[in-house]
């Protein structure tokens, strides 16, 4: 079984494939998806490889299919996605596929070109129809004005004053894109020096462009002018602006006749066009039924040939040689798949050889849908080095927990948990609905993390006793005001309760979590701060200590005894002497000091742990003042013990720094002595010696520098990382305060308004909406995100720096599943 503790054991294998069966074998392996092939000819160009022609044929098929799909999409025909997964077809079927696609493409092209010609015809006729209709108005106007003989019409001005009777004006009518009209008009005016007269009218309905199929808006224009030269000019300009000109007869009767003719032709065309469309539709519908399967087949063939291109040619045996990484646990499956492949093609069996290699194998963690998201959190920092300890299994618990420490609120936790649970519950239908909405995909991918984060937040919410900044009094508070009479309670704004007094404090704590009384006390912040600060440090140190301890398993596994003695032991000593001791002091103070006991352990005598710790490092003692009942020490012999701890910690630093380089140096020297003692004397020896010594020096300085960096990082890191865990407290405080602000500034206004009886409910209706949306947007989403990022940082930096190097590379098996996914996403994007 795959375990998450370490990555899977991998084997580098050599495959001998018969050239007849190579295709089917790779196809089977692709379905299996557990083999990562290595490119054996990285120096060879893409176009010089063996199966480049096949890849090219696949490209061509893909192009045809894309063309088909575009056409299908243009017509809005739904593509049937049955979810079936056709096997990669045999190479000989490729020819059939190619022929099918070729035929379809040609058919479609023919239909399209026919349709385009028809549409162009149709467009022209429609335009002509519009021209005839619209120009009628212009002609009427002209004739009307001529008959009236008045000066009202603009055309009149074009005519010479002394002309006898109406001079025949030439005209050109046509259709032009509406947006080009201003420039067209300006140009006409300039080029003809104002000697033409342009009238235009808008065609209201958009017309379809026959080439692109887009809807375009056009206008009808008619230009009146005089003389042939102007005519030439106008025509040129019309051509220049891509206006289409149509003959338009002058006599009204002719126009009417023409309009009739156009109308009948349009009707005829309409029937032909609809028939062409029907034919096209039929072709496309039948293609749409199969296009998914075809696409998949082509992608599979292409990926198989692409993989085959990475193989070496075995000239003697007429076969192919492949090298690949296989998880050792799956060797059997791979063997089986290979057998299936060879059976299919009926050739000699393929041979699988395990190779020995010094190369670092890829890292492969077998994950399920639950662990996948957590593994992804780790991998985005760095893929684990082959077979090193994987932090992912611990992250499953520590990540939601540390998140919850910051996000501790029962109400917000419930919202988050419900959201996560909904995504988990509706997992199948939601994941089937493929979307490229990135934010949703992130949320959905992390659904189990969200669920766990929500559940843990509910837990910490109970511990903090915090629901939307209010407390739950489930078990009954341990604090009482019984000893005060009613008037005292009513008249005093604040009352002090004495924990030593049995009347006021039950002498046992609230059974679970914090006492609800603290929520309404005025020193709530002080109390919470002290509590949260301390638990942050405690959790932090436990977390780091755990990280350091995990490093032992790494050292043991990789057989680095020297690192255990020279790194792990001083590291753990250093951490324990300073920081674990600090944690113990915290517990000691919690247990030892309190109300109701001796004076020396009363709260007023409790020493500050921070000061104690600083003085410990500075090795400062205290004077025991005789007039004071309090002892500055928390226990007897504290000063001497602390001094001892500090000395041990300080010793650890040079231990970490020098021990390992020294031991390595000594070992090397010893080895050299052995070589010198065993080897004979002579020229060879001398030559060898001179060459090794400088190399040795260089190595030593590198080791020394490396160790120095490592030591400094650890020593400074344990201080700064400990401080870094205080973010648990800081964020938790910020979250609680923000939710309290939201309560007191928003919701409580709604709750108190209308206390005089008028309209409180209405106000509350709106106030609640505001409060709820702010709660979701700011407290759950934004604060959740910020807490998430801080948790991530605590894991990546503070925890993983103790043992995790993350310098491996991921195992990317050749699998049809991922290849098809990628190809499909690429299609969705375009």
């Amino acid at each position: 079984m795959g375990s998450l503790f370490r990555s899977e054991e991998m084997a580098l294998c050599q495959l001998f494939l018969q050239s007849e069966s190579a295709y089917t074998c790779v196809s089977e392996l692709g379905e299996l998806g557990l083999v990562q092939f290595r490119d054996l000819n990285p120096d060879v160009n893409a176009f010089q490889r063996k199966f480049v022609n096949e890849v090219r044929r696949c490209d061509e098929m893909e192009r045809k299919l894309r063309y088909l799909e575009r056409e299908i999409r243009k017509d809005g025909i739904p593509v049937l996605d049955t979810g079936e997964n056709p096997e990669a077809p045999m190479p000989r079927e490729m020819i059939d596929l190619e022929a099918t696609f070729e035929k379809l493409e040609n058919e479609l092209k023919e239909v399209n070109s026919n349709a385009e010609a028809l549409k162009r015809n149709y467009l022209e006729l429609t335009e002509l129809k519009h021209i005839l209709k619209k120009t009628q108005a212009f002609f009427d106007e002209r004739e009307g004005s001529l008959e009236a003989g008045g000066q009202t019409s603009l055309t009149q001005n074009l005519l010479p004053e002394d002309s006898k009777g109406p001079i025949q004006l030439g005209f050109v009518a046509g259709v032009i894109l509406r947006e080009r009209i201003p420039a067209f008009e300006r140009m006409l005016w300039r080029a003809c020096r104002g000697n033409v007269f342009l009238r235009q009218a808008i065609i209201e309905d958009p017309l379809e462009d026959p080439v692109t199929g887009e809807q375009v808006y056009k206008s009808v224009f008619i230009i009146f002018f005089q003389g042939d030269q102007l005519k030439m000019r106008v025509k040129k300009i019309c051509e220049g602006f891509r206006a289409t000109m149509y003959p338009c007869p002058e006599a009204p009767a002719d126009r009417r006749e023409m309009a009739m003719g156009v109308k009948t032709r349009l009707d005829d065309l309409n029937t032909v066009l609809s028939q062409t469309q029907d034919h096209r539709h039929r072709v496309l519908v039948s293609a749409a039924r199969n296009i998914r399967a075809w696409m998949m087949k082509v992608w599979k063939i292409k990926s198989i040939y692409y993989t085959l291109n990475m193989f070496n040619l075995d000239v003697i045996q007429n076969g192919l040689i492949a090298e690949c990484w296989i998880p050792v646990a799956n060797l059997e499956d791979v063997q089986l798949a290979l057998r299936r492949g060879t059976e299919k093609s009926g050739s000699l069996p393929a041979i699988l050889n395990r190779l020995n290699t010094v190369e670092a194998p890829p890292t492969f963690h077998r994950t399920n849908k639950f662990t996948k998201a957590f593994q992804a959190l780790i991998d985005s920092y760095g893929v684990a080095t082959y077979r090193e300890i994987n932090p992912a299994p611990y992250t499953i618990i520590t990540f939601p927990f540390l998140f919850a420490v910051m996000f501790g609120d029962l109400g917000h936790g419930i919202i988050m948990a419900l959201f996560g649970a909904w995504m988990v519950w509706r997992e199948k239908p939601l994941s089937a609905k493929k979307t490229d909405n990135e934010i949703w995909n992130i949320f959905f991918g992390g659904r189990y993390i969200i669920l766990l984060m929500g559940l843990f937040s509910m837990y910490t919410g109970f511990i903090y006793n915090d629901v939307f900044s209010k407390a739950l009094n489930i078990f009954g508070s341990a604090w009482h005001v019984r000893s005060y009479n009613e008037s005292t309670i009513m008249s005093n704004k604040e009352l002090t309760l004495n924990p030593g007094d049995v009347q006021q404090y039950d002498q046992y704590p609230y059974p679970f979590g914090l006492d609800p009384m603290w929520q309404i006390s005025s020193n709530k912040i002080n109390y919470y701060n002290s509590y949260k600060m301390k638990i942050s440090i405690i959790f932090g140190i436990i977390h780091m200590l755990f990280g350091v301890i995990l490093s032992v398993w790494n050292y043991k596994f990789f057989n680095k005894q020297i690192s255990i003695y020279c790194e792990f032991i001083p590291q753990i000593l250093f951490l324990s002497c300073l920081f674990v001791y600090l944690v113990l002091l915290v517990f000691h103070k919690w247990v030892w000091y309190g109300a109701g006991g001796d004076v020396s352990v009363s709260p007023s005598c409790a020493p500050s742990i921070l000061i104690t710790f600083i003085n410990m490092v500075l090795m400062k003692g205290y004077e025991n003042r005789p007039d004071d009942d309090c002892s500055p020490y928390m226990y007897a012999g504290q000063f001497g013990f602390q001094r001892f701890l500090v000395v041990v910690a300080v010793i650890c630093v040079p231990w970490m720094l020098f021990a390992k380089p020294f031991l390595i140096h000594r070992n090397n020297k010893r080895k050299q002595m052995m070589v010198q003692a065993n080897g004979g004397e002579g020229v060879v020896e001398e030559g060898g010696e001179t060459s090794t010594v400088p190399h040795e020096e260089h190595d030593m300085s590198e080791i020394m520098i490396h160790q120095g960096i490592h030591t400094i990082e650890y020593v400074l890191g344990s201080v700064s990382h400990t401080a870094s865990y205080l973010r648990l407290w800081a964020l938790s405080l910020a979250h609680a305060q923000l939710s309290e602000v939201l309560w007191s500034m928003v919701l409580s206004i709604g709750l108190t308004s209308g206390s005089d009886g008028g309209g409180g409910g209405v106000v509350m209706y709106f106030i609640f909406a505001a409060w709820a949306s702010l709660t979701i947007a700011i407290l759950v989403l934004m604060e959740g995100l910020s807490a998430f990022l801080h948790t991530l940082r605590l894991h990546w930096v503070e925890f993983q720096s103790k043992f995790y190097s993350g310098s491996g590379y991921a195992f990317v098996p050749f699998a049809f599943e991922t290849i098809l996914d990628q190809a499909e996403n690429a299609i969705v994007e375009t």
């Binding site: 160009n45 090219r56 061509e60 140009m187 080029a191 602006f241």
Partner: protein
């Protein structure tokens, strides 16, 4: 301009253009391209570069012209994207770049019209960056004043046209003169615009534009030998923003044969080197290629500075050079003429 506020408006685009620049083919890519046997091999290799699937929807067998068109389309798309996101003063700067293409297009169309070619046949040959609304109606004009009054007066080129308005009919020589006068006015205007922007932009762009101006001066001179262009007229065509101005240009105006031109170049270190290595014999590089190489060098250098507009210009020019290279290689492959396949200009 303050460098520190450059990124407010132009940071995104500069980042984009630098990213685009990283996609420019490297020497190894060229080595691979040169080895291709067919155009389909070329396509396959280009697929593994930043060009990606730009030819994926083209049916084989490929034509060189298709490759050329697609290369240009891709570049134009990128440039349009940059232009659409640009704000002043970068927008004006990018517009200035397109004016050069407009001049070329106008000249192309007029020449075509002179030879009675229909405009619809010529339009696809025009550079898409240099189109404007009235461009297709250009053949209305038969004299340069008509050209100005009817067509160009609304375009940005109107400012450059002032000097070449005349009532003469358009003929071959006239058109060449118009092209060069326009180009001169354009280069000088662009130069002074870059100067006015100041800062690194001015430093980088003036260097590049000065070279462009000098190159034009040299080429005009060399091409004028044996034509009816007088030395006086020739002098009017020299852009006066290069390093040759004023002494070099005066000397060029007096030149009567290629040897004289070379003597003029002797006085300028960078041009001397170009002229010395150039020749038409096999194994030698032509002067044109030498100029291109120098241009590539200047453009690559533009990327060594930050916070300036020169990178946009340089990117466009480098990419154009790359397109020319690919098309050259493609032509050599298509015509099975591999002897000269190495004559591309590598972009380092």
């Amino acid at each position: 301009m303050l460098d520190s506020i450059f990124n407010i408006d132009n940071g995104y685009l500069e980042g984009l253009v630098r990213g685009f620049k990283n996609g420019i083919l490297k020497q190894t890519d060229y080595l691979n391209l040169v080895q291709c046997e067919t155009l389909d091999d070329l396509k396959l290799h280009l697929q593994s570069t930043d060009y990606g699937n730009f030819l994926a929807n083209e049916a084989s067998p490929l034509q060189v012209s298709v490759i050329d068109d697609k290369l240009r389309d891709k570049l134009v798309t990128e440039f349009q994207h940059l232009r659409n996101h640009a704000v002043e003063p970068l927008a004006t700067f990018l517009d200035y770049i397109t004016y050069g293409y407009m001049i070329d297009n106008i000249v192309l169309l007029i020449t075509g019209a002179l030879h009675q070619r229909p405009i619809s046949e010529l339009m696809p040959k025009c550079h898409p960056l240099g189109t404007f609304e009235q461009i297709e109606a250009i053949n209305v004009a038969s004299t340069s004043s008509e050209l100005y009054n009817a067509v160009l007066v609304d375009t940005p080129l109107a400012d450059f046209f002032g000097e070449c308005v005349s009532e003469q009919d358009l003929d071959e020589l006239n058109i060449e003169i118009i092209r060069n006068t326009l180009y001169k006015a354009y280069l000088e205007s662009f130069y002074s615009y870059c100067k006015s922007l100041g800062g690194t932009t001015a430093d980088v762009m003036c260097e590049i534009l000065a070279f462009e101006a000098d190159r034009r001066a040299f080429i005009i001179t060399l091409n004028s030998f044996g034509t009816e262009l007088t030395n006086e007229d020739r002098k009017k065509l020299y852009p006066q923003c290069g390093k040759l101005y004023p002494d070099g240009l005066a000397a060029l105006a007096r030149a009567d044969d290629p040897e004289n031109v070379k003597q003029v170049a002797e006085f300028y270190t960078e041009y001397r080197a170009l002229f010395e290595g150039a020749g038409n014999n096999p194994g030698e590089k032509t002067l044109e290629d030498k100029f291109f190489e120098h241009e590539v060098k200047l453009n690559v250098n533009a990327f060594l500075h930050q916070f300036h507009f020169g990178v946009f210009y340089a990117y466009l020019k480098l990419k154009e050079q790359e397109c020319r290279n690919i098309v050259w290689i493609a032509e050599c492959i298509a015509q099975k003429h591999r002897a000269k396949i190495d004559n591309y200009i590598p972009i380092l």
